[in-house]
Subunit: 357 residues, 2 copies
Amino acid sequence: VDGAPTDPAGPLPAAAGTLGEFALIARYFTRPTAERQGIGDDCALIDVGDSTLAISSDMLLEGVHFLPGADPHALGHKALAVNLSDLAAAGAQPRCFLLDLALPRADESWLAAFSRGLFELAARHGCTLVGGDTTRTPQGAGGAGPITIAITILGSVDRASYRGRAGARPGDDIWVSGQLGEAALGLALRRGELTLPPAARAACLERMDRPQARVALGRALAGRASAMIDVSDGLLGDLAHILERSYRADDGSAPLGRGALGATLFWAQLPRAGFFDPLPPALQQRCVLAGGDDYELAVTAPPQWRAELAALRCEGAGLTRIGRVEAAPGIRVHAGHEGAGAELALALQSFDHFRSS
Amino acid sequence: VDGAPTDPAGPLPAAAGTLGEFALIARYFTRPTAERQGIGDDCALIDVGDSTLAISSDMLLEGVHFLPGADPHALGHKALAVNLSDLAAAGAQPRCFLLDLALPRADESWLAAFSRGLFELAARHGCTLVGGDTTRTPQGAGGAGPITIAITILGSVDRASYRGRAGARPGDDIWVSGQLGEAALGLALRRGELTLPPAARAACLERMDRPQARVALGRALAGRASAMIDVSDGLLGDLAHILERSYRADDGSAPLGRGALGATLFWAQLPRAGFFDPLPPALQQRCVLAGGDDYELAVTAPPQWRAELAALRCEGAGLTRIGRVEAAPGIRVHAGHEGAGAELALALQSFDHFRSS
């Protein structure tokens, strides 16, 4: 396959004997592009006249991203929320979306609930459905194919303040919005792997089923953040995307090929709900550091913005400072607060659909 | 479900006892929109500054839109071609696209061939891949879920000359590009329902596997056509979409609710390959009038453009005049040329994924 990657960090190598999702994308679907921003950020940016659009597409499959029998109202919400979250990470103002929907049958009560969940969230963000496609899933010997929901979303961005994932620099603070780990804990609860008091259980399931995209926060951060990403696959993995894409010489003489900045995080500062405290440390770490589906924002910013970012609140969510970007590669997690505590030993990996476990 | 339809023709009623695909879309996914053009045309139109973008999304599923084991190079071509065809019907210049891909496994030879088919066609149209999502299909007891390909495509349109599906008027000529029916015949051949000489067989399979979107023709027609649609579900069904959406008083006092203009087509003038001649008339009619997957353009235009449209050729494809728009509802097909021949008795219906047969 010909074609050079556009990402200054180069394509990610496949893990030995496997082909990870991100490597797969880089290897077969990265091409030179005249568009301003290509594959690799949460959104692609395209310039239209004097304006700039951010575009993103995400697909949800029954049995992969949601459990069979999932509440259709929650599903309608979540399918749009994960796309809104990509716009949030671009600091974009949502504008419109397209919906591709494959269903085993035209079940009217399912459709009514799904579309209500979808349109309620769309209305809150002023985001209009403008097109798409519906089709029946194939009916095979093993039953009907999975419900499949693909949404493409478009928003407006201010080109001058857009940073994407590539702007982090050693010395930057690392911030995260809201609280981490509840969606992953919700999945463990639904799988019956543990029990929690009713209120905590309800909070986790709600976070898993109806994530809140940090759209207003993302827009407020444009111009302050040096890099932003939404935490969809787990904090460590998503932060690693920032650190990989931000790896380049400060003078712009980008050393092509794989490389990464590093980071140190402070475990005691990572924002999580109080009901995490009595849980086994390994489970806490798995959920908070590597749990997917949080749809919070992970942000890097120069220390000059520290006071302003600490005071920022949008739609009930604020930011917590959790670490700093460093020149040395790798992500280290210290057990205590900043400047205290030994390094935690971690064996975590973010969720990757095609990586064999 | 609340919300009024934006389509002046109103939502289509569900067929008795069934819920057709188009009715389903109209019923649950039609909402008022501030965008310039909503659901109902091949593309949605959105204004960005002084420019206008056309956007469309189409989804292909293994076992529904293509057979299991389909050639991945052809599949990469076709997945993009069906989306380019939507831009063609909007008279748009292709710009970029997003790809959502669900696969049972990361099969490198499949990916290499698929991406080659995709990018070869993309390069021919100057259309860049800018984003998307890949995921693994669920692995259930009945095997892996179907390969699913959802593409969203964006193009530029000239707002002043855009017509969509709603501009046809009684007295307009009806035109179609290229030749009809070969893709449907290709499907019948692949299913073993008939045999044809090798050259004819190869031509049909090629049309089925690698449709050519009429992008240049669509752009050349902007400003001449009164309405355009791409023939993806069969000529009669797609022409009916034009006739339904174009139903309104000429003075703009649109009578809300269902209604349609009508048309007369001339069977002898419908362009098809010579190898159709010896086939049973019912099979010819099924393929030419109701066969899906042709991806030709069906066009209405005032008779003043007749000479110019007859002479138009773009990338090897021209237009054939096949009928006229009339005020009386219904589509009639006359057996001969214009002005000659009795009416054919037809019992045909376009492909509709959710309509029970």
